[in-house]
């Protein structure tokens, strides 16, 4: 079975869609020779040329506007915002335009575009390059928000993002680009709003996203030895959220931990925790536990950054808190 990295999986999807649909193009800062912020589109300029792989000025509003205008007039644009930190520079185009046009026009048009960007704290990039700003996309109705963790999901979900008629925010994660996994060479899609149980278990449910999926799996494996059976659920699409799968699992385990890298206050973990507290209260046998970035800016200094990034340690502690005594 062929194994490729998340980065390669994303590139494969981009290449496929560019090759099979001439309405698809990619635009963003340095997406051609440099391959964009994270090298995902590297090399595609040689195959598809400047018409399809469009470098833009440092004008985030114009990048998203380019996508919206093109989507409204029949194209299927993919635009890149180099880091999710810079969505603040085009927040209006995303939250008041891209997300709302279908609704405010009473359904006259669709806005089939993908905004790809990258989230996550890593490598001393400091506070303005370590934000996990996606909760604002969840709090603004109208956007599909995807956040895959594996190479398989990355390819299938990127294909789906381009195919879907809704505006999609596609969130990559800095720390997992080089992770390898099986990815079929054929074209396939991963459906929107369907979570994936990355590991089945009986005692505790962990809903984890992106890099934290790996941390959760690793801790879960360790816990097997201690006789604790953990179920790890990767929601994959953050909006619409597959609550059914999460609820099913909580019904079984009665214990829930959510591990997501956005800041805790009004973050993604809050949404999952409160949905369960509302709708699955009777099945809960222990308090839910949220794991996320602490409610401070990300520090630059290496040892502090390591403390700041949520990971295995926080998961282990959370397990202690919720586990059957």
């Amino acid at each position: 079975m062929r194994e490729i990295t998340v980065r390669e999986a994303l590139r494969e999807s981009l290449r496929y869609n560019l090759a099979h649909n001439d309405k698809v193009f990619l635009a963003g800062e340095d997406v051609s020779v440099v391959g964009g912020g994270m090298g995902v589109s590297k090399g595609l300029i040689d195959e598809f040329g400047e018409k399809r792989i469009v470098d833009t000025p440092i004008s985030e509003n114009a990048i998203v506007g380019l996508g919206i205008g093109a989507a409204l007039t029949g194209l299927r644009p993919v635009v890149e915002i180099m880091y999710i930190d810079f969505v603040t520079c085009c927040a209006d185009m995303i939250l008041n335009q891209m997300a709302k046009i279908h609704f405010i026009f009473g359904g006259q048009v669709k806005v089939p575009m993908v905004l790809k960007t990258v989230s996550g704290t890593s490598g001393g990039n400091a506070a303005q390059h370590s934000n996990n700003f996606y909760p604002m996309f969840l709090n603004t109705p109208g956007l599909v928000v995807m956040a895959p963790s594996t190479p398989y999901d990355s390819k299938g979900m990127f294909n789906m993002a381009i195919e879907d008629d809704n505006p999609v925010i596609f969130i990559e994660h800095k720390r997992i680009y080089n992770i390898k996994g099986h990815v079929p060479e054929d074209h396939y899609t991963v459906p929107i709003g369907v979570a994936d149980v990355k590991k089945e278990g009986q005692d505790i449910t962990i809903v984890a996203t992106q890099a934290l999926v790996y941390d959760a799996l690793s801790v879960a494996e360790d816990m097997e030895e201690e006789g604790i059976s953990i179920e790890v659920i990767d929601p994959r699409t953050l909006n619409p959220l597959d609550k059914a799968t999460i609820f099913e699992s909580v019904k079984k385990t009665g214990r829930l931990i959510i591990a997501d890298e956005s800041c805790l206050n009004c973050g993604f973990a809050s949404e999952v925790a409160s949905s369960v507290a509302e709708e699955m209260f009777d099945y809960l046998d222990a308090p839910v536990v949220r794991i996320g970035s602490p409610d401070t800016s990300a520090p630059y200094s290496h040892p502090l950054e390591l403390e700041y990034i949520p990971g295995k340690e926080e998961i282990r502690e959370a397990i202690k808190k919720v586990k059957k005594i």
């Binding site: 004008s59 093109a70 007039t73 405010i104 009473g106």
Partner: protein, 325 residues
């Protein structure tokens, strides 16, 4: 510039239709029949009329919060517009958008916008898309003198310029953004000066002279259609009403009555009508008939809007996101 007799009459009719529609809306607003924010175009009719007369049905426009005139001039019908303002399901946007989001995609009207400058980067995207698809369409982007101070203006004009996209940027300078004069907001005598920054032609024109508007728009639109790139047009005009229909005393607490009165003597409609009468291109009787027809259209629209049902509550949810069929 030669204009056919038929078109002369059409220009007059369109201006009168816009005037009737917005003056009626102003009254309906005061009578409590229209909620929300309503921004009347009274006094500025020559701009939308002159510019849109040059456009083909397949061309696009991006409009503003003060957008009724643009819609009417581009082919919007009173009854669906008014139904929208009444919040009825028969409105262009099924009652979801109202005045600030009026759109009729089949007419190429890609929407009014509640965000000042919000359409500018989208217009650049539409221009990019036209070029990408190789059609000979053009997109006109309207915005006010206030819109010229937004970051959108800068990013959007630059993007359109470097792609040599077929976009005509139309700044409707009615001298005020709410209470702030354009001179105080920019320090400039002519806002079209800013075209230089984007390597495109800029022109400042009397926006109350329909023939001057038509001619300048014709040149810019033909230039765009011929692949020669974008233009920035500034039309000087004045709004007769308050910033919005609910503003006290036509905004006379921040502008002089004398100023308003002097601009009323420059009424674009009376001015053009007098010219046509003088040149024998129209008769008093024909004008009377024209006005009666327009009033009839308005009355019909009121009846249509009155008799239309409100949208069902479920439509909020139906429109919130596109479902896969």
């Amino acid at each position: 510039m030669q204009i056919s007799d038929k078109n002369n009459i059409e220009l007059l009719r369109t201006m009168k239709r816009i005037r009737t529609f917005d003056e009626t809306c102003q009254k309906l607003f005061v009578a409590g029949r229209i909620p929300g924010a309503l921004h009347c175009y009274t006094g500025e009719e020559a701009i939308a009329t002159g510019v849109c007369k040059v456009l083909e049905p397949s061309d696009y426009i991006l409009s503003t919060h003060r957008g009724h005139g643009h819609l009417i001039a581009k082919g919007g019908e009173f009854k669906y517009m008014l139904a929208e303002l009444f919040g009825k399901s028969t409105g262009y946007c099924k009652g979801m958008g109202g005045s600030m989001h009026l759109a009729s995609v089949k007419h190429g009207i890609l929407g009014a916008n509640g965000i000042v400058g919000g359409g500018i980067c989208i217009a650049a995207g539409v221009g990019f898309s036209i070029k990408y698809q190789g059609t000979d369409q053009v997109v006109v982007c309207f915005f006010g003198d206030g819109g010229i101070s937004t970051g959108f203006f800068h990013e959007g004009l630059n993007l359109a310029s470097i792609h040599n996209a077929p976009v005509v940027f139309v700044c409707e300078n009615n001298l005020y953004s709410i209470s702030m004069t354009s001179k105080r907001a920019t320090g400039l005598d002519k806002l079209s000066t800013r075209a230089v920054s984007y390597n495109m032609p800029g022109e400042t024109v009397d926006g109350n002279d329909i023939l001057a508007v038509y001619e300048s728009a014709y040149n810019a639109i033909e230039r765009a259609r011929a692949g020669k790139g974008p233009t920035l047009l500034e039309y000087i005009t004045y709004r007769w009403r308050g910033h919005h229909a609910g503003e006290a005393g036509d905004g006379l607490f921040y502008r002089e009555k004398k100023e308003l009165e002097s601009w009323k003597t420059k009424d674009p409609i009376r001015r053009y009508q007098a010219l046509l009468l003088k040149e024998g291109k129209i008769t008093e009787e024909k004008i009377e008939k024209m006005e009666m027809d327009i009033q009839q259209e308005m009355d019909d629209a009121i009846e249509f809007a009155n008799n239309s049902p409100y949208p069902k509550a479920e439509s909020i949810i139906e429109l919130s996101m596109l479902k896969k069929e």
